[in-house]
Symmetry: C2
């Protein structure tokens, strides 16, 4: 077989500047990549016809510990890319093949140890919780900015600045632009090429759903990396119904082309999660068969098994489906967390529980107190809640959709809760019931090491806790809103804790 090397560039995504929005030039061959970082192979390939549909490109990456096939994608200007995330340290070899190129492109690289902030992709751990692949617990404290990557570069930058100082370690956002109240501006880029010469851009005319706009995806994956640098998981919403361009009503072939493209492009980023949809059930042209087909594509094309979920409008998807790794739930009925855990036996992530704000939509006008209350309630039941903010703004820049700046009261309190959760022994909470309390305790430990009593809107002036006469507990009264922790000393036996008779208090008892 005649082997021909065709313009092979080997790049590590550690050298970020070369990856986005620029024509790739000949560069140095960085032949080392960090574990769980992106190793990217760029090849020049065929351009006749439609390179997005007419050719294939894929790679096989092997070390002594794993062999993985990863399909690549066309990135415009005759450039094809194949990306790979190595899961082990050591030497990897690879071969790139496909109808896009003549012959085989071969090479090798060294996978080095992960740096301290790189813990690998997030996995489900202990049934109801998450950890990074290196075993470090990961507690999701997410936020939602559906269309932040579709705003001006200046606003995108502001969003990243805000995220940097926020408590959030996960963000939900859409590949496709969004058309919805407060979201009437044109997106910064479009995912497809439009062939019309004039006419309104907010129209489903003229789109060629077989020709992606590489700039759109380059910008998007730059932001995946920006988030990675901030330690934030990118919970990518692949489809959504809030569309005026036809992106939500493409044909089966067009949908599948899109899903393959998205999964092939983004899978190698370790901080990617696949959120199949925002409110799948509002996408009236899609059936369960469609969603199940997307699941097949995702499971096949993503060699790393990133987390997969599907977010509901009025009706839950069937979260028992084996491809769903965790429940992504829209509901304000926090009290159901325990039932959902029992029903689905998966992590319960309450990705939408109404937003702090004052818009007229009821999903977007609860107080900071109420949002923080829902976080605490869901957390103490062994679930995970997600933030969003929707304060009206003279330029319609609402965090929930466009990002920008946070105005609300909840983020510092969410940071405080994240601290409380991180300080708890074990790995995540479950609830035990005693008398009328739902008490958060470590999910995998014997009950007795730690108790977190959250009193929610109830305002007891005192509480008694009964223990034996030997076990000592450190007693702390937590004001979840004012973010104070009052040390009430070490006690045993019948412990009386005086409380201020205010809402949103908690008591933490830690075995000594």
């Amino acid at each position: 077989m005649k082997v021909k090397y065709l313009c092979v560039f080997i790049l590590s995504c550690m050298s970020l500047t070369v990856c986005f929005g620029k024509t790739i030039k000949h560069t140095v061959n960085t032949n080392a990549v960090e574990r769980w970082d992106v190793f990217e192979v760029t090849v020049k390939g065929k351009t006749a016809g439609n390179p997005f549909t007419d050719y294939t490109i894929s790679g096989v990456f092997s070390s002594g510990k794993e062999t993985k096939k990863a399909d690549g994608f066309y990135d415009g200007d005759g450039v094809y890319k194949v990306r790979f995330m190595p899961s082990y340290e050591g030497k990897y070899s690879f071969e790139i093949t496909g109808s896009a190129i003549d012959g085989v492109a071969k090479g090798s690289f060294q996978c080095t140890a992960a740096k301290p902030d790189n813990h690998g992709p997030v996995r489900v751990a202990n049934t109801f919780h998450f950890s990074y692949e290196d075993g470090t617990p990961y507690y999701p404290f997410g936020t939602t900015c559906y269309a932040w990557t579709h705003q001006t570069l200046e606003l995108q930058k502001a969003t990243l600045e805000t995220l940097k100082d926020s408590p959030f370690n996960k963000i939900r956002f859409c590949v496709f632009p969004k058309n919805y109240p407060f979201n009437q501006n044109d997106p910064y880029t479009y995912p497809y090429v439009n062939t019309r010469v004039d006419g309104p851009i907010k129209s489903n005319d003229g789109w060629d759903f077989t020709r992606f706009n590489p700039n759109h995806f380059q910008l998007f994956e730059k932001h995946i990396l920006d988030l990675m640098a901030l330690g934030i998981e990118a919970d990518i919403i692949v489809m959504h119904p809030y569309d005026c361009w036809g992106f939500s009503r493409m044909s089966i072939a067009e949908d599948d082309l899109y899903w393959n493209y998205v999964i092939n492009r983004f899978s190698a980023y370790r901080n990617v999660w696949w959120s199949f949809a925002n409110e799948y059930d509002h996408m009236e042209s899609k059936t369960v068969e469609d969603w199940e087909r997307y699941a097949v594509i995702t499971c096949r094309q993503d060699p790393y098994g990133h987390l997969r979920s599907i977010h509901n409008g009025p009706h839950f998807y069937d979260h028992t489906k084996p491809w769903i790794t965790h429940c992504s739930i829209q509901s304000s009925d926090m009290g159901q967390v325990e039932n959902w855990r029992k029903r689905y036996n998966k992590p319960i992530v309450l990705d939408e529980i109404c937003y702090e704000g004052n818009i007229f939509h009821p999903f977007g006008n609860i107080s900071g107190q109420e949002l923080v209350r829902r976080f605490w309630y869901a957390t103490c039941l062994g679930g995970y809640a997600q933030h969003g903010e929707t304060y009206i703004h003279p330029e319609d820049i609402l965090w929930w959709s466009k990002g920008g700046v946070l105005y609300g009261d909840s983020p510092p309190r969410i940071a405080f809760l994240r601290r409380i959760v991180s300080e708890a022994p074990g790995h995540g909470f479950k609830t035990v019931h005693k008398w009328w309390d739902n008490i958060a305790v470590p999910d995998q430990e014997e009950v007795g090491s730690y108790y977190l009593f959250y009193f929610d809107i109830t305002r007891p002036a005192y509480r008694n806790f009964q223990f034996d006469d030997e076990t000592l507990y450190k007693v702390e009264v937590i004001d979840t809103w004012n973010m104070t922790i009052e040390d009430q000393g070490i006690h045993k036996g019948d412990i009386l804790v005086n409380l201020p008779g205010r809402e949103y208090m908690a008591v933490r008892l830690t075995k000594q």
Copy 2:
């Protein structure tokens, strides 16, 4: 047949002072009684053996419009009483018979027109609502003081003073004394005679469940009349589980004797409602068969068909039972009101929705805001809510059980809501759904005359309402907590209402 008049006194309960705690002396024969007042016949009868069990006494009362049989009761000191509530104006004749007396006692009286404040007993009206028998709408705004009649006379008086200036027109309270946290004092009177000579009173020893203590019942019915004078319905809790004397664990025969005694004694008071139990399902010695037997007794012995309900602990009684006139519900899940209306097709009275207070029990430590929120929410869904208050007190005098003084923030706001409900056209609310709103509208009127939008904890900064270009609406912004009504004028078409972005707001639109 030999007819013998045996010391027949005819009293109207309008002359209240002769009815309670005093030995009845020969009095004038007040041979006129107001419609829906109590006409009472007192006879001296047999005392050998046990007059509570060994003899019968009953009356038949006839006018041209009704003939009713009413059983009487033994009131101690050789006195038997038969009470009757006439439902029509005009001349009534009566005959008293039974084994307690020799022969028949006969007489007649005139039933006069009801005075302006006397509207008769409360009935179910329009399926989900209530009205007095004269057709005047009755909107229950109740409170709970379980054991107020068992406290000192001074405290009883204070409770009545508080009620006088309160918004409450219904009160739930128990015939039997209560033993529960914050309720550890001895009751002022006991319902039964105790035959022990010594030993603790808080014991189930020595009680003779076949011998009532007339003083206890005389005091109780004095309070029914006190409430009547204040325009307050007496929602009498016949049984409850919080007992250390054995009153909740009597035999079938003892129970039935008690039920007959209570119903025979109290039925003639027009403001009586029968609450079969507080938390029936916590009375472990009672079965559904027992409750159904009490229902048979109640329906048979109460000639007036007073309202009947049964209040739950964790589990609802089957409110579809035909003897249940309305659902008496303990739940904090206000949002279910509409479902319960559909399920039971009866008025939904949320008799226990947690209390304003700060005790450690979670049923008794919500804020005034939260209690008022629950009132508004339940009301706008077409139900009725009930108040209670449980602030810790140096002498354990908590309103919810003992009465006394109200300390909370909710009563004036409940008065404000009662005003809003009373001002609405029609007779009671139902909910219509539009977009994401639950909107209270008059239950029996064509939609369009009146809308009450309650925003609960949501805080929209504005709302649009779309109407046609002809219909004029008066627009008012209601602050349900600060009790203000802001008139925003008369509008039509697309109406924009600016709101303050606070919780607990409402908008009232009234067709002009």
